[in-house]
Amino acid sequence: MALELIINLLLLATSLFCYWYVGATMPSSAINELGAEQWPQALLIVLIPALCWNIFKYFKKNKKEEITAAFKDFIPSIGRLVKSKLFAGMVLVVIMALMYEPIGFMLTCLLFLIAYGYLLGQRKWPALIGTSIIITIVLYIGFAVLLGVMLPRGQISFLRNLALFIESLIPRF
């Protein structure tokens, strides 16, 4: 319940910031034409009152005591979330997204699959590593070789060379 209010307030703050930001960073348009900033601003003019209305409805629907109790429980609930597998999974996804460009697709995919498999409860290392390697190769062949998608090889030289070496082992069609 507290999360709903927090998200609404964050969205409202973001919307207000975006309204200012889009107006400040776009080249100003003539009075008689629609500029690049006016469409997002028009959307925000509707979005900001809608968010205010939603916040108002939240306070109208919930009693003061209920809101206070929800906020009291909110901090412990964050602790519970941080300790949960869900949070670990979310962190892994974020780390994977950040690692993707610098260390390349192959190593990122392999490490992510091993880490996620471990998180899901797989403790047999040969099976975990073997499956991860097979899935990485299948994904690579599917997307890079067959579909011609440019997958990142990484920016660190030895990792890039490693990716190129592994790629050279896979026959191209």
């Binding site: 975006c18 930001y21 080249p27 690049a36 979005l47 968010l51 869900l86 999974g89």
Partner: protein, 333 residues
């Protein structure tokens, strides 16, 4: 007309052509089932295969890929809650709950059947009404295109009638995300916050994978019991049963309505299979006597979007057929 139809059928059922179409259907289904490869991308990927084909074979090959990819997208939507193509997103609402209940076979059967009926209906419409419909569609100007887009957005009002304010907020956030990137008219970066990565905007497919696939993976992480259910008594109930004739007949009017609606939306420039599937889903939810069943895993919720998006593919070809095909079919000088 009969002459044209018989000569067309003779071409399609020629052994070489028939094998080619089967290969295209397989390829299209595969591309459609892959999240991240849209129907348009599937056609683009199929183009290199057509370089050495003659015009008729190439058109048949590409049309088969396009239609099959729309159908293929629904399979992963049902089995993994990952829509292969954007137009399969509404199929996840009811397809995935059915798969979780062990009725994946029934859901997939209904999806394939409705896709086939929708596609065939649209093909018949294309055959009979193509010149007239194309003339009507090409008379559309910017104001009509705006009206169609607005009609697409108005679907939002019927998605969650209990809290329209929240639906409106979600829709506006979606529109704001679509504003990120280069402004199409002036070419200036908008809402990119100085990041080069946002210059090309936020693509539909990554957003869709994030909303549907990643959230599902995270949910499963939190509920390991579901992953461990393989081999449990619950899973023994899982069957590959196809929908019965009675079940198919129970959605006959949904199929009929969505075939017409999907074809009409497909013909309109600016709209497409995605708008068609969402519109068909919400229309059927509105018309249903038991709207509360939608979203819980009912056959009606699969029949409506899958008929609609496949019917839209035939409608979409109506627009390009007379002029483009005529140009392609002319012998090269």
């Amino acid at each position: 007309m009969i002459d044209l139809l018989t000569s067309g059928l003779a071409v399609v059922f020629a052994p070489k052509m028939f094998i080619l179409i089967i290969f295209a259907v397989f390829l299209g289904t595969l591309f459609g089932a892959l999240p991240g490869v849209s129907a348009t991308m599937a056609v683009t990927l199929g183009i290199p295969f057509t370089y050495k084909m003659d015009a008729v074979n190439a058109i048949a090959f590409l049309v088969a890929i396009y239609c099959a990819s729309i159908t293929g997208g629904g399979m992963t939507a049902i089995l993994f809650k990952i829509p292969g193509v954007p137009s399969s997103a509404p199929t996840t609402y009811d397809g995935y709950p059915m798969a979780q209940r062990g009725e994946a076979g029934k859901a997939l059967g209904m999806q394939l059947l409705c896709s086939a009926i929708g596609g065939i209906f649209a093909a018949i419409c294309m055959l009979l009404l193509s010149p007239q419909l194309t003339q009507a569609a090409l008379s559309f100007g910017p104001s009509e295109l705006f009206a169609i887009s607005f009609m697409g957005l108005s679907i939002l009002t019927s998605l969650e009638t209990d809290n329209i304010c929240r639906t409106l907020i979600s829709g506006l956030i979606g529109l704001m995300l679509a504003c990120v990137g280069l402004d199409p008219l002036l070419g200036v970066p908008r809402l990119t916050f100085g990041t080069r990565l946002l210059t090309s905007g936020i693509e539909m497919i990554p957003v869709m994978i994030g909303f549907f696939a990643v959230t599902e993976v995270l949910k499963q992480t939190n509920k390991p019991s579901k992953l461990q259910a393989v081999g449990d008594s619950k899973n023994e109930q899982m069957t590959a049963k196809m929908p019965t004739l009675k079940e198919v007949l129970s959605v006959k009017w949904i199929i009929a309505r969505c075939s017409v609606l999907g074809t009409v939306i497909g013909i309109l420039p600016g709209a497409g299979a995605t708008i068609a599937s969402f519109l068909c889903y919400s229309t059927e939810q509105k018309l249903s006597k038991t709207p509360e069943k939608f979203g819980t895993g009912c056959l009606e919720g699969i029949a409506a979007p899958e008929t609609g998006n496949n019917a839209a593919t035939g409608g979409a070809w109506c627009r390009c057929s007379p002029w483009e095909f005529q140009e392609v079919m002319q012998p090269q000088s």
